[in-house]
Symmetry: C2
Subunit: 270 residues, 2 copies
Amino acid sequence: MSPFVDSLNRARDRTNSLVCVGLDPDVDRFPEHLKSGNDAVFEFNRSIIEHTSDLVSAYKLNIAFFEVMGARGYEVLERTLTVIPEEVVVICDCKRGDMGNSARMYAKALFEHFGFDAVTVNPYQGRDSVQPFLNYTDRGVFILCLTSNESSRDFQHLSVNGHPLYIEVASAAESWNTARNAGLVVGATQAESLAEIRAVSPDMPLLIPGIGAQGGDLETVIRAGADTSGGGLLINSSRSILYSSGGLDFAECARAATLRLRAEINTLLP
Amino acid sequence: MSPFVDSLNRARDRTNSLVCVGLDPDVDRFPEHLKSGNDAVFEFNRSIIEHTSDLVSAYKLNIAFFEVMGARGYEVLERTLTVIPEEVVVICDCKRGDMGNSARMYAKALFEHFGFDAVTVNPYQGRDSVQPFLNYTDRGVFILCLTSNESSRDFQHLSVNGHPLYIEVASAAESWNTARNAGLVVGATQAESLAEIRAVSPDMPLLIPGIGAQGGDLETVIRAGADTSGGGLLINSSRSILYSSGGLDFAECARAATLRLRAEINTLLP
């Protein structure tokens, strides 16, 4: 077992949870009492983390919501990372995809400077764009396979070599995965394709966004996506947890929503 | 003509140049006298800009080389942007690709906060991942079509609907381009495919990296890629310009290399 898969399993065993909370801090959706603060995004993140870190295998930080504040947003990102407990897996949802020296720089930035445990990457440029990330064999690399948006049909579902492009990507990822530190991103709204992806990648960790606000079906996801041990999944929820209350009790409500999602998942597991 | 295409044409007419200089500031390749400075990357960028801005249509800033420094790198990026003359087109080479709210946040970050004139985006997630960028109709959106790396063969060359995936992408981009602010990224090492892409996208601006260090052939690029007016191209060079000298004269040598490339391109134009 690779160090990355091992860290996922340990996080799951410790928390009895396949939940990944997506930290997408959107100031417009913050409770009123936080909105006016000087350091609202950091305070929001810290509260959410304090109230949920014993219930989740992972956090997924969506870089877009930090980048929108420019350099200051990346500074808030750096500070947010310092308040996440060591044992929680921290995924950078940045969907990086570049080649050669640029890919090496991104990998160095995200794994060495920021210290993320895992990243999401885009496969469009092929193996040599992903390899610099995979070379960090103690970290995880979730490769976009099939995304939860409507327009995923534009290219990902096109037929190549007798199967959809997303199967070609899954199968390529499997062949690149010599250090067993690759995973796939598969949107929960695409649950009907999950079994097909699992058949190609029987033991690759799957990061599943799209539960909750985007309407993915949890039962289908778990039935089709769980690996033979009943794990191998991280089920991400962002908005449904972060913004379950718009009041002073937002963090307590986020905790309650995380508890509910954890229980719901565990009931459905084989 | 769209405001973006118009700004490209004005930049070309003003400088008589299709050159785009890629600002990939790699401290390891800096001249010795700069390496030790507190603000080496900014000083390097400023010198390069001061010595080349009258000779280029555009700068392309590769975010990887800033991100490697973390939040501080984004702060250097912000200051670098303030020293680029208004009339030069400034492209953010960030290859963003995400959906929904995340894509909107990225577009807001790059166009509103940083104020870039154009960005590069990844098409893998389809139209709704690109649309939030295209919605800024006065800015440009260069969609990755066919990249210059070896592994572009992994997916971009696969046959879909009777043609390679990159043609499907070019043709989709053409159909999304209702505000005429989309362009394509096509690697110079793929010059043999350029004519085919031009046939699908006869007047879309092409951003062409891969000249110089990566070995793309300039003559083939221009013959196959120029539009009917002899323009419609931005030919990017990064390392061959930035690091043409490792001494005190690095900026003067960058200017000389830019002048040579401009002349070489202009000789080849129809």
